[in-house]
Symmetry: C2
Subunit: 502 residues, 2 copies
């Protein structure tokens, strides 16, 4: 590396170190806004976030920063692996933002903040119409954003997909989701015609929140979540926040009449947090720790939630604690009944509450919706009707209000392209789980509560390259395979034949 | 007002509007750090706070800002009342900071953040020695800070007192605290020799936290706290945060074996929040809403806590709810027993948990400690011994560890001069409460649960001038009197003779 390159790299690091202060404050503000901020203070807090996002944007798109990014892009070959990744990521970002003025960025930022607020109001009122105006602005902002990019892909949605899951475009996803839809629909048919009935009366019994809180702590600790470097609190729509190197926070939502809702929220979000808490230190030192794609992350959270959390071995492991805590409420429930109930397959309305089989169909619906919205095939007004039509078609259910329909998810208040990652995440982990089973005996680990071994395997194989390789390369480096839904479908068939006996 | 003055005022407003963004973010960061931030993330979060404090400092001490402040100071006579107050406050601040460079400010900011962290660690470990180094740095920073001021008062402690309670200096406070100490000591003697024994066994009964949470909500709502413009959560050392115009947050701490600890924390902090939520809008619009002195604020919080919360009428009002919520734990406690127990007078160690009589002596001790520390009469190493000696002398008790001694309060991690305000607050409200009784029939209002009337009286008489007048003028404008401890001592004698029967 020449002296100039060394000097420029250092200068860039200094800017990024300051950038981290903004990310840190924005992370705390976002977390606050989504958890505890009072209703009448949200609008002002959104404004404050917009202000600091804008300050951050100014820093990272300053003349000095731009010069350094372009320089390092042109001298990439001199850099070591991680700095090369950094230079590449920054240059990609530079290509996206070089024509965006701070004033434009501030306008967008305000649109997204307002959209979040309006979404929340609309959801509480159960009325999509209250979100319509904001959503139109989000769509317009997405279009404007892509139109200002250098080297944008021709299709709007492809750009947004690429932002979330690099390299996975509609060409890949049409094939993947076709395969997934067919496999799931076939499996759903087998389950329906099996005639097996799963007991479910106890799932809606009242379980006091304070007992559920204790249960959350019990679930997260052994999985390897470090409470000294994170915390757990409540929110409307559970998420995990990567606030700082030693601060990965989990949120959940307690429903008194649906204790498994919190149970699987916590395990899922805990999976994200375990990922965040175990990224390589070197990635952090080289400022590339935030570049993981969503699908990689979801592969881990959904692995903890489903492959571990909904397995027979896991239910066997935690059953005694369930009885200890909820004996009063669930004393008459056997271990087998609990296992079957957390895996009951039943077409329903709310994505975050459903089983592993119908979940994929919820994502297929969102993928088709996003394609239609981004291509302009449907107008904003037509969104609820299209949503309800697809739910009828794929799942045979119809939302009674928009709150349990098109308004259930927060995602569209900040744009499009995220949902596919959930299904891709399932597919990723179904592929790499096979290797894990062979190498460390996954099922035995779960039965023994040996989550340390699982975490270590994840560190060595999943987390180690997740900040460096793009999804396609990354998956190949772990498994030697390309993205397919077939391993996931095979996993489900194997598991559910054991439950429904077909 | 000339055109130039108008223009300059507007320019200053613009800077202050930006400043509010920093205050808002810093408010959220401080709140986060004090409530939910994970232990290993605190240090980094402190660094981020220091960064933004420094950015804010640069903004407010920029060449442009300084010019505007000096200009408006010189053209004060052209301004309307509130802008004149603003100009005066900013000029005072300017005189304090004009010789402070951003680098110096950053250094101080880091000292205070580190001191908070070290205080927490020291308290948890029960060892003053772990806080010693940081406390020495806080003292040195205070000295340096005062030495850089224009027009500093000759005595270090007078400057710090003046920062907290403008115009109330050692000359006033020596007299006030002397009066207070004598009055309280005499009253304590009467109580002790009355021979009346108050039942207290139930005060340490286990009351589950989730029930106490419900109780907190019950207590705050009728007092007039607006939950849409605030929230309540837990912390180590309860405080209230004035985060934004529509965001005044209350914190508390739940002790399972001391339910009245949370009860009076919540009522006290709720009093602060009610003040914050009911300041005149015009004060906010003129950027003078943050200039209230601590004593004025404490007069309100301690009014809600004691004059209302520990009154016979209030206990009568809430007794049915107490039985409804805590019937299982406190079913055998009569209304009279509860009233006497929340007023039990007993020399003890922890300031925030004590009765109204000994409370003042806890403050006298801190006042004497701060005087000794600031004058250099005792070294940092000698602080715990001096503390323990004074506790023995005034209250006849001795801390077993520093955690229940000199480390119990967070305040010294950010400097000196605050404690006197608590006692001054008591004195203020004892003076203006007499007027309230005459004008709206305070006791009847409490008995009827008519807290709206009380809040309105506060708005018209206490909050309305609290951002405009300095404490001495303010007190005179409400009551026509000067600061004295005698009304407070009279109030206590009247109340406690009814309880202890002397």
């Amino acid at each position: 590396m020449t002296e100039t390159t060394q000097k420029n790299l250092k200068s860039l690091y200094r800017i990024l170190a300051t950038g981290r202060r903004y990310e840190h404050a924005l992370g705390i503000l976002y977390f606050d806004l989504s958890t505890i901020a009072p209703s009448k203070a949200m609008s002002e807090e959104g404004e404050t976030m917009s202000f600091f996002e804008n300050q951050y944007f100014k820093l990272i798109t300053s003349k000095k920063a731009k010069e350094l990014i372009v320089y390092l892009h042109e001298h990439e070959e001199e850099l070591e692996e991680r700095d090369r990744v950094l230079a590449k990521l920054l240059y990609e970002e530079y290509s996206k933002t070089k024509n965006v003025t701070p004033a434009t960025q501030l306008r967008w930022s305000r649109i997204y903040n307002k959209a979040y607020e309006d979404w929340l109001k609309a959801k509480n009122a159960g009325k999509f119409s209250k979100f319509e105006k904001s959503l139109s602005k989000v769509i317009a902002a997405s279009k404007e954003n892509v139109s200002l990019r250098e080297n944008a892909l021709p299709d709007l949605y492809d750009n947004l997909l690429n932002d979330c899951e690099k390299g996975m475009l509609t060409a890949d996803l049409d094939r993947f989701f076709g395969e997934l839809r067919d496999g799931l629909t076939e499996l759903l048919g087998k389950i329906r015609s099996s005639g097996h009935v799963i007991r479910r009366d106890f799932l809606s019994r009242r379980v006091p929140v304070h007992k559920q809180r204790e249960f959350s702590d019990y679930l997260l600790k052994p999985n390897g979540y470090d409470f000294d470097r994170g915390c757990i609190t409540t929110t409307e729509h559970p998420f995990t926040s990567d606030i700082a190197k030693d601060d990965a926070r989990v949120t959940t939502h307690y429903h008194e009449n649906m204790f498994i809702s919190n149970m699987y929220s916590v395990i899922h979000e805990g999976g994200h947090a375990i990922f965040m808490q175990n990224e390589p230190d070197e990635d952090y030192d080289h400022y590339i720790n935030d570049s993981i794609t969503n699908g990689m992350h979801e592969s881990v959270s959904r692995f903890y939630e489903n492959v571990i959390g909904r397995s027979e071995e896991y239910i066997h492991l935690i059953y005694p604690k369930v009885m200890e805590l909820f004996g009063e409420e669930l004393g008459d429930v056997s271990e087998r009944e609990l296992y079957e109930a957390v895996n009951i397959v039943e077409p329903s309305l709310i994505r975050t509450e459903v089983d592993e089989v119908t979940y994929g169909l919820h994502i297929v619906i969102r993928y088709e919706m996003e394609k239609m919205i981004c291509s302009g095939k449907i107008s904003v007004k037509e969104i609820p009707a299209a949503w309800n039509r697809l739910y009828g078609e794929y799942l045979g259910v119809t939302p009674k209000t928009d709150a349990e329909g098109v308004l259930q998810d927060v995602h569209w208040s900040s744009g499009f392209g995220y949902f596919p990652s959930y299904a891709i995440g399932n597919a990723y982990n179904a592929i790499y789980t096979q290797r894990m089973e062979k190498e460390i005996g996954l099922r035995k680990c779960i039965a023994a509560g040996d989550f340390g071994k699982i975490k270590n395997w994840m560190k060595d194989n999943v987390f180690a390259k997740a900040n460096i390789l793009e999804p396609k390369e990354w998956l190949r480096s772990i498994t030697g395979k390309d993205l397919t839904a077939s391993d996931f479908i095979a996993y489900l068939n194997d598991k559910y034949s054991g439950i429904y006996g077909f």
